[in-house]
């Protein structure tokens, strides 16, 4: 085979320019994570503004429409610009390394995904500068309200999500092709790292449900711009139809955001318990099961629209079924701790925190799935508490665990452990102080998406506690940022600082552009554990 040597201009190798032209999956992964980190800080500032407004009744830190813009962009940003892409970032960096590949299957497509993501994100962020401000119909954009809102904000949200959808679809195809075709010798489906399993299901779900979102948003855009009236009752349209289309995408999206986070947990816990994962096949299979059932539960977001009770009943049962594979995962992670040698490094602390908080979010989900109970708590702060327990207490804690765990591999330097532990405790305590009282607020009757509330002893007390908690959490996040800044001069990591099990730790930190000089034959789900054992048997270690 003839080898074609491509020559590139010299400036391609510049210190900054190289990041703009890169097609290396590791650099693209890091770009994803850094960009998502930036949007995370933006969305966090919005959250703090909202909590400040709600610290007491009748505050006027922000105006009514300002508040509505804040929660709309906060939600949209956290879902589409933070959690989904940061997981794509981890996937990009890790999947080829974990399966012993040279790069993703389509490196250029990969770069395109990233740049579309960045520009799609900026469209949403800059919508604050549009005439009449950012979109303000909530991240769900329910019509007819979202059709009637003035100004281009809502149209910019739709444009942004269309761009992001193209980015995610290309990324998802790339992941699937890579995982199916580029596994190294011996890496069978039962030896695939559980994080890669979760990315496989993440990508499949994205492919299945994003088109529904695109369709719904396109119809919404037509309604806004050309009065097509698909969702507008005065034109014979149905607002409930939009909700079905949106949640057919929206609920699987929840699992798109949590499955790779669970994958991170499945990688971190065994390493710091010095054990193999308990029930590898059960965890891998439950990932697929959750992915499948997530397609059948969407209308549990719509129990109050007045569906017939046999439909409510169907969606209650299907939603409860998801609790089973989710429980299987939690019990297997607990069993992985059992008889382990638990090392409490920061990555492990965040993982254990995840186990605790995600369980709470899962259990409050059972209440929500029982539709008569949902008639009480739907659209209240109880729901806000619930989804922050699964998305922050779940996804974000897992992402932080992953950040501390893989940082040395990405940059060759360790993050500070002492500072890391402080940040964990600030975030964990602050998180629970912020969101636990919100369960009570919801049960006491406080609806979500309100810029103010009536004066009432308990409402004020819980809201104040929640606002204080959000600042504590904010300090924790700043400690993480400071830790990252300091890590430029952090301790050097070496190839495998955690004595971990998966292939990415076989190569140098950071890995060379071609990833591996050679890849060991994979004989189990823990190739590096096997390698260490063989070396020990030969007396070389």
């Amino acid at each position: 085979m003839a080898v074609r040597v491509e020559t590139v201009p010299r400036w391609y190798h510049g210190r900054f320019a190289s990041w703009f032209v890169t097609v290396d999956h590791k650099r693209i992964g890091i770009l994803y994570i850094a960009t998502a980190g930036f949007f995370f800080l933006c969305a966090g500032v919005m959250a703090l503004l909202m909590r400040t407004q709600l610290a007491q009744a009748d505050m006027s830190v922000v105006e009514q429409d300002g508040y509505n813009q804040l929660f709309t962009v906060h939600g949209t940003m956290m879902v589409f610009l933070v959690v989904v892409p940061i997981l794509a970032g981890f996937g990009n960096f890790l999947v080829p390394l974990m399966i012993g590949a040279r790069d993703m299957a389509f490196p250029r497509l990969n770069a395109m995904s990233y740049w579309l993501y960045l520009f799609g994100g900026l469209v949403l962020l800059f919508s604050f500068f549009a005439d009449q401000g950012a979109p303000q119909a909530g991240w769900t954009s329910y019509p007819p309200f979202s059709v009637y809102t003035d100004g281009p904000g809502q149209d910019l949200l739709i444009l942004s999500l269309h761009i992001l959808t193209v980015s995610s679809l290309a990324g998802a195809i790339n992941f699937i092709v890579t995982i199916h075709n580029m596994r190294t010798r011996g890496m069978s489906w039962t030896r695939l790292p559980l994080f890669v399993w979760s990315i496989e299901v993440y990508a499949a779900l994205l492919l299945l449900v994003l088109p529904a979102l695109s369709a719904g948003l396109t119809l919404l855009l037509l309604d806004r711009q050309f009065d097509t009236g698909f969702f507008v009752p005065t034109d014979g349209g149905s607002p409930v139809l939009y909700q079905h289309v949106f949640w057919f995408f929206g609920h699987p999206e929840v699992y798109i955001m949590i499955l790779p986070a669970m994958g991170i947990i499945s990688e971190v816990i065994p390493v710091f318990a010095r054990k193999p994962i308990f029930g590898y096949k059960a965890i891998a299979f439950s990932t697929v099961a959750i992915g499948f059932y997530s397609l059948l539960v969407w209308a549990h977001h719509m129990f109050t629209v007045g569906m017939p009770n046999f439909l409510n009943g169907f969606f209650m049962v299907s939603s409860m079924i998801i609790a089973v594979p989710t429980g299987v995962k939690i019990f297997n992670w607990l069993a992985t701790l059992w008889r382990g040698n638990l090392h409490f490094d920061t990555a492990m602390l965040f993982s254990l925190g995840f186990l605790s908080t995600f369980t709470i979010g899962g259990l409050s989900g059972i209440f929500l799935a029982a539709f008569p109970i949902d008639w009480q708590v739907h659209d209240t702060y109880y729901v806000v508490a619930h989804f922050h327990y699964v998305l922050f207490g779940g996804s974000i804690l897992a992402i932080l665990a992953g950040l501390f765990y893989w940082w040395p591999k990405m940059f060759g330097r360790m993050l500070g452990e002492r500072l890391g532990k402080w940040s964990f405790w600030f975030i964990f305590v602050g998180f629970n102080l912020t969101f636990f009282p919100q369960h009570m607020l919801g049960l006491l009757g406080m609806p979500r998406r309100v810029y103010t509330y009536r004066e009432d002893g308990l409402w004020e007390g819980y809201n104040l506690a929640s606002s204080i908690g959000s600042y504590v959490m904010g300090i924790g996040i700043l400690l993480v940022v400071w830790n990252i800044w300091r890590s430029r001069k952090g301790r050097r990591a070496g190839n495998d600082p955690w004595l971990a099990d998966t292939l990415e730790w076989f190569t140098t930190s950071p890995p060379p552009p071609h990833n591996f000089d050679r890849v060991p034959y994979v004989t189990s789900a823990r190739p590096l554990y096997d390698l260490r054992r063989r070396l020990k048997e030969r007396g070389a270690l």
């Binding site: 054990k275 369980t359 059972i366």
Partner: protein, 320 residues
């Protein structure tokens, strides 16, 4: 011991309910049945919570590294099929128990009691959600805004809807049962039977726009005869144009944006404005909206419009 538990549980539940650990104290049979379901689910989820958090803490303590060397292997256990089966099947059984109980309680929550059952023939009220107020219509044509009057111990059936030109709202009085969306052009049914006289508060639960947060709703439960009397005299008063409908309408539909005294808020001041003095201009704006103001009263009856414009002329047109 058992007796203490039996006494402690309801006492604890009562305290918890007031502090927000369970839905608010129910004052209607449907709300009560929802609370029963909540308690049933809480038993199982509470047990699972204790099991998971307890074993998590125990394992963290029991299997901590302590003085063991860094990196030393833990027990190399790969799994256990019986355990996997156990923690798959046990949750299934728990969910069957939860689901069955919910279906068992469902008729008490959803079905409006028949005329022969407790509470008798229901009083039918139409509940309409507008930006940003609630309008109630009684069978005899009486209109009320934001605060609904209802008889104690009698069934009240609700037809919850929103006018076609409006957006989605959600009707919810926590003590009187679950919420249902008020969807433009569609009607949802619900009911309640207030067990005590008093005022029950709630507010719109579906985000509906700039003043969603102040779209409050109240149900004032009064003794049955008092209610009947009020309904009859109110019908006559509204017919004759002598009721306080204009004031109610202003307070519910106008004041949230223009201020209770017409001093202006997110909307321009109305006190002393040309609009307040000119009924035709007022009707034109109320029916069609203007600028950012939605057409809040597009489908009002003439007498309600007249009541409002009269109130504007008298109360606000003369300078407040």
């Amino acid at each position: 011991m058992l007796l203490v538990l039996v006494l402690l549980v309801p006492a604890g539940a009562a305290v918890a309910a007031n502090a927000g650990f369970a839905p608010v104290e129910p004052e209607s049979p449907n709300a009560e049945a929802i609370n029963d379901s909540y308690a049933w689910v809480a038993i199982f989820t509470g047990a699972i919570f204790l099991l998971v958090q307890g074993s998590l803490l125990w394992f963290i303590y029991r299997y901590r590294r302590g003085r063991r060397p860094r990196g030393e292997d833990g027990a190399q256990v790969h799994g256990n099929t019986n355990l996997e089966l156990a923690w798959t099947i046990a949750p299934v059984l728990i969910l069957v128990a939860i689901g069955s109980f919910v279906f068992y309680k469902l008729p008490d929550i959803k079905d409006i009691p028949s005329a022969s059952a407790a509470g008798g023939e229901p009083v039918e009220v139409t509940v309409k959600g507008y930006r940003f107020y609630w309008q109630y219509t009684y069978p005899n044509g009486v209109i009320a805004m934001d605060r609904m009057r209802a008889p104690v111990d009698r069934n009240v059936s609700l037809a919850i809807t929103a006018p076609e030109f409006d957006v989605i709202h959600s009707w919810w009085i926590p003590a009187l049962g679950g919420k249902f969306d008020a969807i433009p052009g569609e009607t949802n049914e619900s009911w309640f039977r207030a067990e005590r006289a008093g005022v029950y508060r709630g507010q719109c639960a579906e985000f509906c726009g700039i003043q969603h947060a102040v779209m409050t709703a109240e149900v004032e439960a009064v003794p049955g005869d008092e209610f009947d009397e009020w309904l009859e005299s109110e019908a006559e008063a509204q017919e004759a144009g002598e009721s306080d409908l204009g004031e109610q309408t202003y307070a519910a539909a106008c004041a949230k944006c223009h201020g209770l005294a017409g001093q202006g808020d997110i909307g321009p001041p109305l006190a002393g404005s040309a609009l307040a003095a000119d009924p035709e201009l007022a009707e034109e704006i109320v029916r069609n909206g203007r600028g950012e103001m939605p057409p809040i009263g597009q489908d009002w009856e003439e007498r309600q419009m007249a009541a409002l414009t009269e109130y504007l002329q008298e109360g606000l047109g003369s300078g407040g």
